[in-house]
Structures are given as structure tokens and as C-alpha cells.
């Protein structure tokens, strides 16, 4: 059992599913809240342990291990199969998913302690299903299973973003996330169907064999890879389908951590990593991926600079980092993108959970309510700074090596434009993240912050948590000590775990530079580090020393700033498209239905009525008339028949 990778991976995948079914079906368990949470955490811990063991085993075998079972039989072989595909890539991804999920679930126990038990049970049921679906995507040996789990991921993100469904913004954000990703999913589905038509199989390994033996006509492949990319575009929030991700911040912060680090947004990047052999045949689509990635990275970084909500800054930084990964994949080096996906998963989860701890203490998402928190929350401050340094790409921290790999890959792929965009985005990343750090942790303390329960409680807490929980919040405060101080063990534990992992990864990769498929130019490392340090310095001068006035900085970039405040009008564009195109089309169709389809029917029925009215008059009711008509008819008949006599 412990040495069979297939059984281990199956255990890892099915444990959260079992937990979900248990919590969902046994409703006293769900209503009880915390016991349901225990079941869920136990299941995901099991998954984590099995995933780590499976990774060790998978590393020792050169070939990918595949186990499939028939699902939809057909005349010649199974039409569709389900199963697992185990290789270092998928098991590594499994570890990331289960690790982040485990820590998020433990963290949520304290973060959501004010939730009523039934809501908590619901939360953990969704969490388990979410983990299961994401693992289903990760281990999928064929595109059909991948698509099903992919859609499940979408549903779970909808459920969790809209967890506080009584809050209208949360419900809207959940819908927006669902529809936006769904728009991409249509492309993915079309792509999968086209692949089946072209190659006759959904199986990833078989597809790879067919491609490698040049048994496939690659002329139609460009459309297919573009369709696949559309799906990844929606899930991984690439421009212009990135609009859902910032709004998804309406969900609970641990959910944001899960969505941004391990599940959901990583699925799109992972899909491209898994199908990189297909994309390698279509350089045009790859170039598109790279350029869109670069644009996404730069645009999101600019947007992050003007946000005032701490979670929105992090959300845009996720969009930006996803752009990095996509650019590396587009440059033809999926390995670099995948590496950045893994390191980003760790430190972004760390950042989100850290931000959650801050929000939990201050009861506000707005950075203007925060300041000087380092003294009140020293632990949170330290781990948040570790995460920030990782994201900024400072040596010895997690994001350093992977970001450099991405930059190098872009350069090696010959994409100068995206490379410059990424470099600018790296500068901005360091700047906006340290802006958060300096404002939140070192700036002057804000009145009411930290101990704002009495003053800000009604306003901020109602905005933060669902309004219906505001009443019972007061009773809970006696039990949990978080007013003004560091979070308890359940929240601090995951934070420190992630921080240490981020440090370990960073240290390891700084010392042993990952083996590249390409040559990094010697000047790249100093430039990347200098750019990051430059961003940090600018943030330091602006927000800590106030040597550079933030207002002057804002006015220096006036047009860009105004554009960024308007989110580059992408949301407006979508809204205008909705209003003009969709509603216009609906109006045309409505008019056609009302006046053409209904009109024809109405005219026919009116004619029938008029005709009936006219014919009615020959029914005089006089016997003589009837008999006359009878006789006349008889005569006509007789003359008519006369010829045949």
C-alpha cells in the first residue's frame, strides 16, 4: 500500500471526496460545524501525506505511471476512461494543492470562528470538494476527466466566493467568476472535442506519442491549442478575462488564499504545462500566450499600485504573477512556468493568510484603517514580509529563482517585448508590495485600528463578515484572544509553516540554481535583483521616509493612474458589450419574435376569424335556403358526374 503510487494517489484524491460526501450527506455532522471541519482536515492531511509519499515514489521511476479504468464503453475500446497519471509533475502539484489546502483549512478554524456551526460545516464541505476537484484536474490522464474536474473546480470556486451569499457583492462576485471562467471553458470544450476529432483519443500520453511520431496533421492544431488556451485564459485570469479575480476577494480570505495559490487559477497554467507538447507544434499560439501573459503581468501590476484594499492588491499581484507563468510557457519553456507556479503557490498562500490575519485583527480590508501593525502583530509582520520579499524576487526567498527563470525563459524564447513588460512588472511588484508593508506594518498607527472593536465594529465587521453574524460576534470575543495581538496557534501555525517552506525553497534554489533548459545571460540576475531593490527603495522613500510625495508620484503618472483607477476600462468594456451587443441582440430577437413570428400567427388567426365571420352569414337558419342549397348541390354533382354515366 505505502509503496504503490497508484493506490497512494487514489487515496489522496478520494479522501477529500469521502470527507465531502460524509459532511454533505450526514447532516447532523454538517450542522455541528467543528466536527465536520475535523473530518475535512483529517482527510486533506491524509491526502498530503499520501501525495508526498507518491512524489517520492514517482521520482524514482523514469516513466509516468498510468492507471485507467473504462468509463464509457464503445465498440472499439473504451470511448472514455478515468484514472490517474502519476509523474513528478503531477505529484508535485498534488503536494502543493494538499499542502495549501491543509493549512488553509486549519487556518479557517480560527478565522471563521464567528460563523454559525451550520455555515462552518457547509464551508468545509465545499473545501473538501474543491480539493478533490483540483486533484482530479492534476492527476487526470485524459482531457475528458480533466474537463469534468475543471468544471467542478469552477463550481466550487463559485460556491466559496459566494460563501457569504447574503452579501449582494459576494453573490455578484461569485456569479461573475463563474460566468467569466465559463466563457473560457466553452473554448476548452471545443478544443477537446476538436482534439478527439483529429487524433481520436483524449488520452494525454497517447496524444504525446502521436505527436512525437508525427502521426498528426498539425495544420488544424493551431485552432485547437487556441481553444485550450481560451480555457486556461478564463481560469488563470489572463487579459481580458482577468476581471473576475479581483472581485473574487468578496469570499473569505482563506478561500482567496486557496483559489490564488493552489486551486482554480493554477489550473489554467497547469493545463498548458500538461499540454505543452501540443502547444510546441503551434508557435503562433505560443507567441500569443507569451504576449498576452506579458500584457497581463504589466497591466495587473499597474492596477495593483492604485488599490487601497489589501486583498485587491494581492489579487492583482496574483493576476500579474499568472502573467509571468504564461509568458514563460509561451516562450516555450513550460518548466520555468511550472516552477514559478509552485513557488508562487507557497508565498501567495502565505501572503493571503497573512493579510487575513491583519484583516481579522483590524476588521477592515482598507489599508487606510491599518498602520503601525508590526508592533501589535509582530509574527504576522515577519511572515508577511517574508512573503513580500519572495514575491518581489529578492535572493534567498522563494520567488527569486523562479522569477529569474521566467525572465530568462522569455529572453531565451526571443520575446523582447514581453521581457521588458515583465521587467517593468517586477519593479512595480516590489513597489506595490512594499507599499503594503510600509503602510500596514510601519506607517503611523491609525485611530481605532487594532483595538477598534468597539468603534469600528458595527461598520467594518458588517462589511467584512456577513451582516447576519454581527449580532453574535460580541459573545465570541471572550473566548478568543485576538484583539490587538498576534493570532492564535491555529492561524499562526499555518503562517509559520508556509513562511519556513518559502524560506527553504528560496534558500535551496538560490544556492542550487535550478537546471535550466536554456542559458541565462550573466547580466540577468543582477538586473532582476536591482529592479526588485529599486522598487523596494521607491516604496521605502515614498511611504516610509515620505521623501517622495505619494501625491507627486501619482500626478507624475496622471493618465496611467486615472486609467488604472478605471481598471483600464476592461470591466466597462465588458459591461458595454453586455449592454450594447447582448442586450441589443436580445432586443432585435425580441422584436423579431414579437412582430414577425407572432405577427404572422396573428395575421393568420385574424384572417381565419374574418373568414369565419363572413362564412357565418350563409347559415341563414331558413329551411328553404338549406334545401335550395341541397338541390343546387345535387344538380351540380349530377352534371359533374354526367360525363361518367
Amino acid at each position: 500500500m505505502m509503496n504503490d503510487p497508484i493506490a497512494l494517489v487514489l487515496l489522496a484524491v478520494l479522501a477529500p471526496m469521502a470527507a465531502f460526501l460524509l459532511i454533505a450527506v450526514v447532516f447532523p455532522l454538517r450542522r455541528a460545524g467543528r466536527p465536520a471541519a475535523m473530518v475535512s482536515i483529517l482527510a486533506v492531511l491524509t491526502s498530503l501525506v499520501s501525495a508526498i509519499r507518491a512524489w517520492q515514489l514517482a521520482g524514482s521511476v523514469p516513466e509516468p505511471i498510468r492507471a485507467i479504468w473504462d468509463w464509457l464503453p464503445s465498440e472499439h475500446g473504451a470511448f472514455a476512461t478515468v484514472g490517474v497519471l502519476i509523474d513528478p509533475q503531477s505529484t508535485l502539484m498534488l503536494i502543493l494543492v494538499t499542502l495549501v489546502a491543509t493549512l488553509v483549512q486549519i487556518y479557517s478554524l480560527e478565522y471563521l470562528h464567528t460563523e454559525p456551526p451550520a455555515a462552518l460545516g457547509r464551508y468545509y464541505a465545499y473545501q473538501s470538494l474543491f480539493v478533490f476537484s483540483m486533484m482530479g484536474v492534476v492527476i487526470a490522464p485524459n482531457l475528458l476527466q480533466l474537463f469534468i474536474c475543471w468544471e467542478l473546480v469552477g463550481v466550487c470556486s463559485y460556491l466559496l466566493i459566494g460563501f457569504w451569499y447574503r452579501k449582494p457583492e459576494a453573490a455578484r462576485a461569485a456569479l461573475k467568476a463563474f460566468w467569466t471562467t465559463k466563457a473560457g471553458d466553452v473554448g476548452l470544450l471545443i478544443g477537446i472535442v476538436l482534439i478527439y476529432r483529429l487524433a481520436g483519443t483524449f488520452d494525454l500520453l497517447e496524444l504525446r506519442q502521436i505527436i512525437e511520431s508525427h502521426g498528426l496533421d498539425v495544420t488544424g492544431l493551431g485552432l485547437i491549442t487556441f481553444c485550450l488556451y481560451l480555457g486556461a485564459m478564463g481560469k488563470s485570469a489572463q487579459f481580458p478575462l482577468h476581471v473576475w479575480l479581483p472581485d473574487a476577494m468578496e469570499g473569505p480570505t482563506p478561500v482567496s488564499a486557496l483559489i490564488h495559490a493552489a486551486t482554480m487559477v493554477t489550473a489554467g497554467v497547469y493545463l498548458l504545462v500538461r499540454t505543452d507538447f501540443l502547444f510546441a507544434q503551434t508557435p503562433d499560439v505560443l507567441a500569443l500566450v507569451a504576449w498576452v501573459g506579458g500584457i497581463t503581468a504589466l497591466m495587473a501590476a499597474i492596477l495593483a499600485c492604485v488599490q487601497t484594499d489589501i486583498k485587491r492588491v494581492l489579487a492583482y499581484s496574483t493576476v500579474s504573477q499568472l502573467g509571468y507563468m504564461m509568458t514563460a510557457i509561451g516562450a516555450g519553456f513550460a518548466g520555468a512556468g511550472f516552477l514559478h507556479l509552485l513557488t508562487h503557490g507557497v508565498f501567495k498562500a502565505l501572503l493571503f493568510l497573512g493579510a487575513g490575519a491583519v484583516i481579522h485583527a483590524v476588521h477592515s480590508n482598507e489599508m487606510k484603517d491599518m498602520g503601525g501593525l508590526f508592533r501589535k502583530l509582530p509574527q504576522v509582520g515577519i511572515v508577511f514580509i517574508i512573503g513580500t520579499l519572495s514575491l518581489a524576487g529578492v535572493p534567498l526567498f522563494a520567488g527569486f529563482a523562479s522569477k529569474e527563470e521566467v525572465l530568462g525563459a522569455t529572453l531565451a524564447g526571443g520575446f523582447m517585448g514581453p521581457f521588458l513588460m515583465l521587467l517593468t512588472a517586477a519593479f512595480l511588484t516590489a513597489f506595490y508590495m512594499f507599499r503594503v508593508v510600509f503602510v500596514v506594518f510601519f506607517g503611523p498607527p491609525k485611530a481605532g485600528a487594532g483595538h477598534g472593536h468597539a468603534a469600528n465594529h458595527a461598520a467594518n465587521h458588517a462589511a467584512n463578515h456577513a451582516a447576519n453574524h454581527a449580532d453574535d460576534h460580541g459573545d465570541d470575543h471572550g473566548k478568543v484572544h485576538h484583539s490587538g495581538g498576534d493570532p492564535g496557534f491555529l492561524m499562526a501555525g499555518p503562517l509559520w509553516t508556509l513562511a519556513l517552506i518559502a524560506l527553504a525553497i528560496g534558500g535551496y534554489f538560490t544556492l542550487n540554481h535550478p537546471e535550466s533548459e536554456f542559458v541565462l545571460p550573466g547580466w540577468l540576475t543582477p538586473v532582476a535583483v536591482l529592479v526588485a531593490l529599486g522598487g523596494i527603495l521607491l516604496a521605502f522613500l515614498t511611504y516610509e521616509r515620505q521623501a517622495v510625495s505619494a501625491d507627486a508620484l501619482a500626478s507624475a503618472f496622471g493618465p496611467i493612474r486615472r486609467a488604472a483607477l478605471a481598471k483600464f476600462w476592461v470591466d466597462d468594456l465588458f459591461e458595454a458589450m453586455y449592454r450594447r451587443l447582448l442586450l441589443g441582440l436580445a432586443r432585435v430577437i425580441g422584436w423579431t419574435d414579437r412582430y414577425i413570428v407572432d405577427g404572422v400567427l396573428n395575421v393568420i388567426s385574424a384572417w381565419t376569424l374574418d373568414g369565419g365571420d363572413a362564412l357565418r352569414r350563409i347559415q341563414t337558419g331558413r329551411v328553404g335556403d338549406y334545401i335550395f342549397a341541397l338541390a343546387a348541390g345535387l344538380l351540380v354533382l349530377m352534371f359533374w358526374m354526367g360525363g361518367s354515366f
Binding site: 357565418r616 352569414r617 350563409i618 347559415q619 341563414t620 337558419g621 331558413r622 329551411v623 328553404g624 334545401i627 335550395f628 338541390a631
Partner: protein
């Protein structure tokens, strides 16, 4: 006399009867017209019976006369009933079926 003479007589009689049925407004007059038409048919039957040398036509005529008697009885009964309820014997006044 040839057969055509009998048939012509029957046709004339039938037409007179039909004319009466169509033009008479009195219900009893209509019934009389119907009687004329029936008898025209009877003349036809008898004439054919005679010229084809069979008795079938005569037997048929006897039946027709019997049924006519019953029909007239029924028709008159209806006329009386209508007269009782509508206080009229004019067919045009009985126009419940008018559309």
C-alpha cells in the same frame, strides 16, 4: 306510351314539389311539397317496374307509401309541437340554427 313520358312526368312532379318545398313559407305547405317529391319517385319506381317486368319496384313503392304515411304523421306532429312552443307555423320563423 314510352318510358320517357312517365319519367318526364315524375321529373316535373319532383320539380314542382321541390319548388314548393323551397318557396312555401308555411310548414304544412312544405310537407305537401315533400309528399309531391316522394310520389314523383314512386311514379319512377312503378314505371321502371312495369317496363322491366319485375315486381320489385311495386313492392318498393308499397313500402315507400307506408313510410311516407309515417313520415307525414311525424312531420305534422313536429309542426304542432313547434306551433305550440313558437306560436307559428311559418318555417322562416323557426331559425334557431342561424349562424
Amino acid at each position: 306510351m314510352p318510358l320517357s313520358a312517365y319519367l318526364t312526368l315524375a321529373a316535373i312532379l319532383f320539380s314542382i314539389g321541390l319548388f314548393g318545398v323551397i318557396t312555401r313559407r308555411n310548414t304544412v305547405g312544405i310537407l305537401l311539397g315533400v309528399e309531391l317529391m316522394l310520389n314523383a319517385v314512386n311514379i319512377n319506381l312503378v314505371a321502371f317496374s312495369r317496363f322491366h317486368d319485375t315486381e320489385v319496384g311495386m313492392v318498393f313503392t308499397l313500402f315507400a307509401i307506408c313510410i311516407t304515411v309515417a313520415e307525414v304523421a311525424l312531420g305534422l306532429a313536429l309542426v304542432i309541437l313547434i306551433f305550440r312552443s313558437r306560436k307559428t307555423a311559418i318555417a322562416d320563423h323557426v331559425d334557431w340554427l342561424k349562424g
